[in-house]
């Protein structure tokens, strides 16, 4: 298991490093209806992790441990959930999160060529982040805008009817 805490070799504890963010997460979990039944508390795990990832951007070991302690769960239970669901990541993501839709509608309209072009120009594999943490590349399955297939999302911005030719421009727009 990668802790993800030390992106450049240094020990780096997000929980200690960002007290205001930690407080935000702490307050969120405290407002949940946590009771004595730890099995029941697990029911709050996924929403707590959503919130944590929203606040910190990713879920390194320090954050996982924090959530585990708050919900009286084992770290292994928390990690088990993070590794199962593709939405959660224990790796830092880039400033520009590029997601190429590879749902069926986008696939039949040429999403693969678009994805390949992003890979080629960013020199990234699917799921990776550039060393300068500027770009992450990922594929996702259907954002529900199939009429605009193929669809690419850069953070919250949606690009429709994307062709391989447009890829360079999309990357250049990320400034």
């Amino acid at each position: 298991m990668s802790c993800g805490d030390c992106p450049d070799g240094r020990k780096f504890d997000l929980i200690k490093e960002f007290p205001e963010k930690t407080k935000q997460l702490n307050d969120f979990i405290d407002a949940l209806d946590i009771g004595p039944d730890r099995n029941r508390n697990r029911g709050f795990l996924i929403e707590s992790l959503h919130e944590a990832q929203h606040i910190f951007g990713y879920l390194p070991r320090s954050v996982q441990q924090f959530v585990a302690d708050k919900l009286h769960l084992y770290l292994s239970e928390v990690y088990g959930v993070i590794s199962f669901y593709s939405y959660f990541t224990d790796r830092p993501v880039g400033k520009y999160k590029i997601s190429v839709c590879t749902g069926t509608a986008c696939f039949v309209r040429g999403a693969n060529a678009v994805l390949e072009e992003f890979k080629r120009l960013l020199v990234l594999e699917n799921g990776e982040t550039t060393p300068d943490r500027k770009f992450s590349l990922a594929s996702l399955r259907c954002v529900g805008a199939c009429s605009l297939a193929p669809v690419v999302m850069v953070n919250d911005q949606v690009y429709g009817k994307v062709t391989a030719k447009m890829v360079a421009d999309i990357i250049n727009e990320c400034k």
Binding site: E47, A105, L140, G160
Partner: protein, 612 residues
């Protein structure tokens, strides 16, 4: 506060009187509309109406998805007196002022979109329209963030009827008699499912709405949640009353932020108005609804996995029985139904089971919403009576194949389904006809493919998806699908040998027969159905090392022939600059560097590039 039928009716009357605005302008603000650029159009509308002092006579309504996604951004001008409207498609910001100039008549020169549906609850199908909208009755017509809009359109009337005049058993009976079948994929009779849960001893029970919508390329549940969230809440409360549950949970995928937002607003409004909470309609019945979020796992759409996910565990399915209706969430009886299933319930209650049965086929009453996508002209949602012919859906509502290409196949049922060839276009589709043809209804994804699609590659695509999404709990699915995928990969890259097809078929059946959950039991379907319908295409890949559709890059080569006039167009467009040649001289492709993207092939205007 709405605490009785009288207060509900008074409220509705007051709302009707209040809506004095002469004209309503509807702007589709669903995910598709926003992505296509509806927000700037809306802003321009607001700005111009204010500038011209029309804010009080013209009302702007931000609606959900109307289903005509191909025509977004769309603007509909609705005259409330005649209840007739003009819909403009692909509206540009620069066209908005013309639209406001001509509120009562059509702006010459602008693209308008014809309605292809009728509303069975309100009107007869006088013009023989193909679509019948029950599930999408409010989508695109009301503001989903306003409870008032829902109330004006018969909202919560079904709940009032149930809570003030029907026993739980009568509700179950009505749903059973309507023949409503689950729209999430399996087609299981909803009334029967409710009766199992109702028969369990009184105690804690749950009503769960499956809004995980995992089939990539299907987006009808999103449209309902974004366009008409109260209809789902109303149905869940009715379901709760019928089975004796006091808690409902909507399990929604995290990839639908707008649907989440609108559901949250709707739940808050229902609570503030006494439609959720204690003693609803003074009946003594209490009900609350919570949201739980998915986190990007297709298998969590399977009901037992979904329940584990709500419990905060890894979303791994478990063996059935016990069925959730007997032992589900936290071990309590739990009804899991799909969004679209719920959206039908208020209409069934309002108009009765017998009315519902007049639409659709005998074994599959009602309508089905399909998400029509892929190579059709009009991508969007269509809601048709069960038993509508595929041809009508694809060629009439869908407008046929784009760019004048040839229809090749249509995939229904997403990664669990199968494809149908042109000779099946006259099939009248319902649950049973599709299953009989080796495909399935699934959740209603309908992806149309044309001559440029390689069916082996499509099968490989779906398997890639299942591989990604397999939870890994059981061996046939985890390993079997991996091996199937490897075989398909060998076929697509020209490394397959003679008996691959047999091996493929045998293993596919083994995976189907021995997997634990619905994911593995259906994941080989795309392979089996493309094999059944397009075996010659597999053969061409294996024997001749050729991809007839020209898709599998390892099996194709682009070559410039003597038609080349040296216009340089291809060289300028090649993304890797591997085409060389002097102006007015024949060009050449450097085969070592060519990435087979096909850009040159499409660019050349002189038929000078061959794909072999």
């Amino acid at each position: 506060m709405i605490d009785s039928v009288e207060t509900l009716n008074k409220r509705v009357e007051a709302l009707r009187r209040e809506s004095l605005a002469a004209t309503r302008i509807l702007v589709s603000m669903g995910t598709c509309g926003i992505a296509a650029g509806a927000a700037p159009v809306l802003a321009e509308l607001r700005r111009l109406l204010a500038e011209r002092g029309l804010e009080n006579t013209v009302e702007i309504v931000e609606t959900g998805c109307i289903g005509q996604c191909y025509a977004e951004p769309s603007v509909e001008i609705l005259n409330p007196e005649s209840n007739s409207g003009i819909t403009y498609g692909k509206v540009k910001v620069s066209e908005v002022s013309m639209i406001i100039d001509h509120l009562a008549d059509v702006v010459p020169g602008l693209e308008t979109v014809n309605k292809t549906w009728y509303y069975p609850e309100d009107e007869a199908n006088a013009d023989n329209r193909l679509q019948a909208r029950i599930v999408l009755r409010n989508s695109g017509r009301i503001d989903p963030e306003k409870l008032e809009d829902y109330l004006k359109n018969r909202g919560y009337q079904a709940l009032a009827k149930v809570l003030t005049g029907m026993s739980p058993a009568e509700v179950v009976k009505e749903i059973t008699e309507s023949g409503l079948r689950g729209r999430g994929g399996g087609g299981f009779p909803t009334g029967m499912k409710w009766s199992f849960a109702a028969a369990q001893p009184a105690g804690r029970k749950y009503i769960v709405c499956n809004a995980d919508e995992g089939d990539p390329g299907a987006f009808m549940d999103r449209a309902v949640l974004e366009g008409d969230p109260h209809s789902v809440l109303e149905a869940m409360i009715i379901g709760g009353y019928a089975i004796g549950a006091d808690t409902g949970i909507v399990y929604i995928r995290a990839e639908y932020p707008l649907a989440v937002k609108r559901l949250k607003i709707a739940i808050r409004q229902a609570e503030e108005n006494g439609l959720l909470g204690k003693n609803i309609f003074g009946s003594g019945f209490n009900f609350k609804i919570e949201l739980k979020y998915g986190a990007g796992a297709f298998v969590c759409g399977e009901e037992t996995a979904l329940i584990h996910s709500i419990e905060g565990k890894r979303g791994e399915p478990t063996f059935k029985p016990p069925f959730p209706a007997v032992s589900g969430l936290w071990g309590c009886p739990t009804v899991v139904n799909n969004v679209e299933t719920y959206a039908n319930v208020p209409a069934v209650i309002r108009r009765g089971a017998a009315w519902f049965r007049t639409i659709g086929t005998e074994k599959s009453p009602g309508t089905k919403v399909f998400a029509l996508a892929g190579k059709v002209e009009n991508v969007g949602l269509v809601e048709v009576p069960m038993g509508t012919a595929l041809r009508d859906i694809i060629f009439n509502l869908g407008g046929g194949i784009r760019d004048g290409k040839q229809f090749k196949a249509v995939q229904t049922g997403g990664p669990s389904g199968g494809c149908l060839k042109a000779d099946r276009l006259d099939t009248r589709i319902d649950y049973d006809t599709l299953t009989a043809l080796g495909s399935m209804m699934g959740s209603g994804g309908m992806i149309v493919m044309d001559e440029d699609d390689c069916m082996v590659n499509i099968a490989k695509f779906f398997l890639e998806f299942t591989l990604d999404e397999s939870c890994g709990k059981c061996t046939p699915c985890r390993i079997g699908n991996t091996r199937l995928h490897e075989m398909l990969d060998r076929i697509c890259t020209g490394r397959a040998t003679g008996d691959t097809i047999n091996k493929l078929r045998n293993l596919a059946y083994a995976v189907k027969d021995t997997s634990l959950c619905g994911l593995g039991q259906t994941s080989p379907n795309p392979v089996l159905s493309t094999l059944a319908n397009f075996e010659e295409e597999y053969e061409a890949h294996i024997r001749d090392k050729k991809c007839p559709a020209g898709v599998c890059t390892k099996l194709i080569t682009y070559l410039i022939n003597d038609n080349c006039v040296g216009c340089t167009l291809c060289a300028r467009n090649c993304p890797v600059s591997c085409i060389s040649g002097e102006r007015k001289q024949k060009h050449v492709i450097d085969q070592d560097r060519c990435i087979k993207c096909g850009v040159c092939y499409q660019a050349c205007k002189f038929h000078a590039i061959d794909r072999i």
